[in-house]
């Protein structure tokens, strides 16, 4: 887990010098190996690392009030690019960008209010999560035999809602009579880190006739996928769908039921922006990354060809904008 930039121990590098290209990443409180967002962003950094010959590091601040200090550590050492992950880190990122015009900032999942924020050195990387949700929802609608599909969600916040509402819309689009049930983690506690709760809710939905479950929300969602994978008929009559990254890789225990994942192509997005930063073409403002649904892996041959065809078509239409999810929060 704790490999990556930090793993290699302290090699004093002078980032201020022009030939060393230094990239620093600040997580949003959860860890670099969260099998999801931060991990994907870090993977993107790794991708770009070699092509850029970059020197990379990350910091895992423990609480919200540490974000600014963490960013400052990179800027103090004159890092060339600072990536901050997650909407929670948005404010400190904007502030830091204003103070350090010399440093490039990439805010992953941070939609910039371009009216207020004009810093040319800050790029907000966001993803049309509703589209990814729509696509997997569309698939779910076609897969369900019981006509009931479900989702286990983390906290009730826009990024999660986007996925879920998209999922709902997609399912209804492909299967008008389908019933979509979703549950958000109760407030307090750890909405994104309560796998046991996720599992329990998944168990409940399954026994209430749901046969496709979309786990939205880090470990909480993982718990749900895990429960589906354990249930009888996993992969034959019951399916689960991962989120953010291709969880086939990050959550092997879910493979028995994991047909696909609604992906924000985070690592691609990060890598691309880093590339631009490398050759100095990186522009400020909002950058819309891509979403998609990851490959079906072992389910490739289990899913009927026509279903696959329909889904691919939808994904294409969503990408070229000819299909709208009409999701409003």
């Amino acid at each position: 887990g704790s490999t990556g930039g930090a793993g290699s121990g302290a090699t004093p590098t002078d980032c201020s010098s022009s030939e060393t290209f230094c990239v620093g990443l600040v997580t949003d409180g959860s860890k670099i190996d969260d099998k999801s967002f931060n991990q994907a962003a870090w993977a993107g950094v790794q991708k770009a690392k070699d092509s850029l010959g970059a020197y990379v590091r990350y910091i895992e601040p423990a609480e919200a009030k540490d974000y600014a200090a963490s960013i400052k550590q990179f800027t103090d050492q004159k890092y060339d690019v600072v990536i901050t992950v997650g909407f929670l880190t948005a404010d400190p990122t904007v502030a830091a960008a204003a103070q350090n015009p010399g440093t490039k900032f990439i805010g992953v999942d941070q939609l910039l209010d371009t009216e207020k924020v004009k810093s040319p050195n800050l790029t907000g990387l966001t993803f049309p999560a509703d589209q990814a949700g729509y696509a997997v929802g569309y698939l779910a609608g076609l897969l369900t035999k019981t006509g009931k599909v479900g989702a286990i969600n983390g906290l009730e916040i826009p990024p999660v809602q986007k996925y879920f509402k998209g999922y709902e819309a997609g399912a209804k689009a492909s299967n008008p009579k389908v019933e979509v049930v979703g549950v958000y983690h109760p407030a307090g506690g750890q909405p994104f880190n309560d796998p046991v709760w996720g599992a329990g809710e998944a168990k409940k939905q399954l026994s209430q006739g749901v046969d496709v479950i979309f786990g939205i929300g880090s470990n909480t969602g993982n718990g749900a996928l895990n429960e589906v994978a354990k249930s009888s008929g996993a992969g034959t009559t019951r399916f689960c769908i991962g989120v953010d990254v291709d969880q086939w890789g990050t959550l092997p225990e879910a493979r028995p039921c994991l047909v696909t994942s609604a992906e924000k192509l985070i690592s691609d997005g990060v890598a691309e922006l880093l590339g631009q930063a490398g050759d100095g073409t990186l522009k400020g403002g909002n950058f819309l990354g891509k979403t998609g649904i990851s490959q079906f892996h072992d389910f490739d041959d289990k899913i009927p060809a026509d279903v696959k065809a329909k889904v691919e078509d939808v994904v294409k239409k969503l990408a070229d904008g000819s299909l709208q999810t009409n999701v409003v929060l």
Binding site: Q205, Q208, K230
Partner: protein, 333 residues
């Protein structure tokens, strides 16, 4: 005279309340089978670690040792069991490791509080913090259970409507929890061990003058209680899910404390209390989106209810008198 009256009343409660609840449950069942069963199953699923955790507390406090380290015991056990199972590719080894972890933590508590007469709350907090430290420091992602824990359908019993699916179509640890509660209740109130345990928790010097080795017994009890906490943790990472994540106990150890008190330090009432919480939790998520009030309010239900119930009914639950007080031989005689 009045003694007899209250005694009868108590037993009326003791037998009547469970009965009423059961009847209510079945009424619900006949209204909507699937929802009823799924909610009850969910309730028990949620309650299992709480039961085991709370029983850990019951044993400790009945013998006079406060244990607020349950959260930590559970977390360590969850960690140890999962990673051992993953490393050795053996579920049995995993479960064993989990239980051992619980016992080890229990032994620490016993050693500091009983042998060295340390402040029991410090020891408990220490356990919690150590647990957080160890489990997040040594955590490595990517580990995986060799296979999932088996799900057992207990012959005959699992066929009973509602009850069957709720209690008898579960994994081994859930069944263990179901079994251990009445056994422990019996042991606590009907056996030599129980009598002595309650004595050392209520009035140690009396037990001492009766020739009972108070501190040895406290030590052993606290260590043994670790088994239950260990099982609770193992349940979280190996049975309820098949993964470990940092701080995955998510405060269940503290909830277990509340349940222990709510259950008046009585194993069977503890089960009832835990089920109540589980059911409220199930209800909360069930009502989400159905009833049109902020979902937060629904999720608050169990907590507010508990407070209300405690304020109105269960008023003064009496803790074992000598709880938290280290026993020093020769005093108070």
């Amino acid at each position: 005279m009045a003694g007899i009256v209250t005694w009868q009343f108590r037993h009326l409660l003791a037998i009547g309340t469970p009965l009423l609840i059961l009847i209510a449950a079945y009424l619900f069942y006949f209204v909507d089978q699937t929802v009823a069963t799924s909610m009850c199953a969910n309730a028990w699923f949620f309650a299992v670690p709480l039961v085991l955790g709370a029983l850990t507390g019951v044993i400790g406090e009945r013998s006079g040792v406060v244990n607020i380290g349950i959260e930590g015991q559970m977390l360590t056990a969850a960690f140890a069991s999962f990673f051992t199972a993953a490393a050795t590719k053996s579920l049995v080894a995993g479960v064993a490791a989990g239980i051992l972890a619980g016992v080890a933590m229990g032994a620490f508590l016993a050693w500091t509080t009983v042998t060295a007469r340390m402040d029991q709350i410090i020891a408990g907090v220490a356990i919690n913090i150590v647990a957080t430290g160890i489990t997040s420091f040594f955590y490595k992602s990517g580990a995986q259970l060799p296979v999932n824990m088996p799900q057992w359908n207990v012959p005959v019993l699992s066929k009973i409507p509602l009850i069957g699916e709720t209690f008898f179509q579960t994994g081994p640890i859930a069944l263990f929890a179901l079994l251990i509660a009445p056994v422990l209740h019996f042991a606590m109130f009907r056996t030599r061990w129980g009598l002595r345990t309650r004595a050392i928790g209520e009035y140690p010097s009396a037990a001492d003058t009766a020739g009972i080795n108070v501190n040895r017994m406290r030590f052993v009890n606290v260590v043994l209680a670790g088994i239950l906490a260990g099982a609770a943790g193992t349940y979280l990472s190996m049975e309820a899910t098949s993964s470990f994540s940092r701080g995955m106990t998510a405060g269940r150890g503290f909830l277990a404390l509340a349940i222990m008190i709510f259950g008046a330090w009585r194993p069977l009432r503890v089960v009832a209390a835990a089920l109540f919480f589980g059911f409220a939790n199930a209800l909360a998520s069930q009502l989400q989106g159905v009833v049109d009030i902020p979902q937060q309010f629904v999720t608050l239900l169990p907590y507010v209810l508990t407070l209300a119930v405690l304020a109105i009914a269960a008023g003064r639950v009496r803790a074992p008198a000598a709880e938290g007080v280290p026993f020093i031989k020769g005093e108070g005689q």
